[in-house]
């Protein structure tokens, strides 16, 4: 069981936002009060706040719009983020910006977060050039922990090549996070993959249970 408050961090391009959106939707099946906070003030494209209507349809409250349109570069955080962090009745998912730069935003809330029952996941995509081996991933863990003033509590293998993800990608990523897990003692919380691949692996291999991802952030014409 994950903690009430879940922070999603990682290298940019690891698939944090897709994972966060899918994870929040999964949580909405068991919780009536799910909030997804978009803390990404680094990148103005492909942010979870673009999917407010979708999230609403699952009863999820999006926190992150500063009352202006979605495509603005404004390093401003709405006050409701405190609510998502502190409200003990809220199942809260925080979609953090990529890299240590994106995670730095968390430092401002770190004292409040430490008082909560929280998890902080590192999403890993072994197909990203900068997170292809154990040492590189551990470097990210250290840098994100330093920037956020918080500790990572679990790993998410989200190794993918978008719609052309193969089973081998997922297995290779799993081996990578296993290596990281052995060295850091961080548990592997999830292996995630697009639905088709997740179903294939889940039907043939009982050792890992793959969390199915629907690509909500990718347009139909994208690969």
């Amino acid at each position: 069981m994950d903690k009430r408050l879940v922070l999603i961090t990682g290298h940019y391009g690891s698939g944090k936002t897709e994972f966060a959106v899918n994870y929040a939707i999964e949580c909405s099946k068991d919780h009536h009060n799910v909030r997804l906070a978009d803390l990404d003030i680094v990148n103005p494209y492909f942010r979870s706040r673009e999917r407010e209507d979708l999230l609403k349809s699952f009863g999820i409250r999006l926190v992150g719009n500063v009352n202006v349109n979605v495509s603005i570069e404004l390093p401003a955080l709405p006050p409701e983020i405190r609510g998502a962090i502190e409200d003990s009745q809220s199942k809260s998912v925080i979609d953090v910006g990529g890299d240590p730069i994106g995670a730095r935003v968390l430092a401002r809330y770190s004292e409040d977060i430490k008082k909560q029952d929280y998890d902080m996941f590192l999403v890993v995509n072994a197909n990203r050039p900068e997170t292809q081996n154990k040492d590189a991933v551990i470097k990210y863990i250290k840098e994100i922990e330093f920037a956020s003033k918080l500790k990572i509590t679990g790993l998410v293998n989200n190794t993918h090549l978008l719609k052309s993800t193969s089973k081998e990608d997922v297995y290779r990523g799993h081996r990578l996070v296993e290596e990281v897990s052995i060295e850091t003692h961080l548990p592997i919380k999830y292996d995630a993959a697009i639905k088709k691949i997740a179903e294939e692996i889940n039907s043939e291999n009982s050792d890992i249970k793959v969390f199915p991802i629907t690509l909500y952030m990718r347009e139909e014409w994208m690969s």
Binding site: E73, N127, S223
Partner: protein, 353 residues
């Protein structure tokens, strides 16, 4: 090499370094910020120089200087920043120097928006700078194609001593896709016997300049430039054309909108409607020859752009009155959907309600 997942802007930087680019001068602007970010991190590792200039005007003039000294150099920006660079681009073209310029287009005019657009077609193909100059414009439609073109762009610039622009849009810059870096095989390049790389007092100084005070000399210079442009028009045209010989309608689109068009064309094929696609990969030189292969009985051409319709003029010139030319597009940072394209095609063939 195995495929990796990269953001378009990162891939631009990685490909440039692989192609031997060692100098980057630029200024941040969304949605191309990951290009300078990547270069600032990676160029020092290979002995190169990244320099954030005080403005786009300064950056393009640094490119002018480095190119004049014979360096492999590039800059990148997005629409309003590229506008500021126009004077420098004209000078570089006038002085016949090679360089690569990346424009990840955003909404305009003016500051516009930070979302993706294709509204700089006029500027890129007609020039925002002064004088009888041209520069090559590539419009990749995927991250893989962006990488492949980036690798070649520096050689093309060297061969013709001309600025080469990579014209992407915010989507191409920001989108993640799987890419493979193929081994870069350099072309045979002419010696840079014009570069101001020092005389060591052994030879007469070389001069890089775009100033010709005598009208006859300037005219001669322009005639020579035009000869070069004609050779580029003959040799460097690139495009993708599919299903145009027996099409009822032919879509003409580049970059991101070509991706949308392909989806729409597949959907229309399922309904038995034959639609072809011409995707210019070079916007200048424009692929006029592709249009000669279009079914003469086609009902019309549909230009699809993320603008109010800028390439449509070139499509009309290429059509040369043979087919009616219609337009479908979105602007302001919006991307047309395949449904928009399907409906526009049906309207042209008389099938829409």
């Amino acid at each position: 090499m195995a495929k990796v997942l990269m953001k378009g802007n990162e891939a631009v930087g990685a490909a440039a370094i692989k192609a031997g680019c060692r100098y980057f001068f630029g200024y941040p602007i969304t949605p191309q910020n990951e290009v300078p970010e990547y270069m600032s991190k990676e160029l020092p590792k290979v002995g190169g120089v990244f320099l954030q200039a005080e403005s786009e005007v300064a950056a393009i003039n640094m490119v002018y200087g480095a190119a004049g000294a014979g360096a492999r150099v590039m800059t990148s920006s997005s629409s309003p920043g590229i506008s500021l660079k126009q004077e420098g681009i004209s000078y570089i073209a006038g002085a016949e120097l090679p360089c690569v310029i990346v424009n990840m287009m955003r909404g305009g005019p003016g500051l516009g928006s930070i979302q993706a657009a294709q509204a700089d077609y006029f500027q890129a193909t007609r020039g925002g700078g002064n004088g009888d100059y041209r520069h090559i414009v590539y419009a990749p439609a995927s991250i893989q194609e962006t990488v492949d073109i980036m690798m070649e762009a520096f050689d093309i610039a060297d061969i013709y001593r001309i600025p080469v622009m990579i014209l992407g849009d915010g989507m191409i810059g920001q989108m993640m896709e799987a890419v493979e870096f193929k081994e870069y095989v350099p072309r045979e390049l002419p010696e840079k016997d014009w570069a101001t790389s020092g005389t060591k007092e052994m030879k007469s100084p070389r001069v890089v300049n775009s100033l010709y005070l005598e009208p006859e000399l300037l005219q001669e210079h322009n005639v020579n430039l035009e000869k070069k442009h004609k050779i580029i028009e003959e040799k460097e045209v690139r495009y993708e054309a599919t299903g145009i010989e027996d099409a009822e309608v032919v879509c003409v689109a580049y970059g991101t909108t070509a991706r949308v068009a392909k989806n729409a064309i597949d959907d229309l094929a399922k309904e038995g409607i034959k639609v072809g696609l011409i995707r210019p990969i070079t916007l200048w030189p424009f692929p006029h020859e592709a249009f000669d292969k279009i079914n003469p009985q086609a009902k019309g051409l549909l230009t699809i752009e993320m603008s109010m319709g800028q390439m449509i003029d070139d499509v009309k010139i290429a059509s040369n009155g043979r087919w009616p030319v219609a337009f479908e597009g979105k602007t302001g940072g919006l991307v047309p959907s395949s449904v928009d394209v399907v409906n526009a095609v049906k309207k042209m063939i008389g099938g829409a309600k």
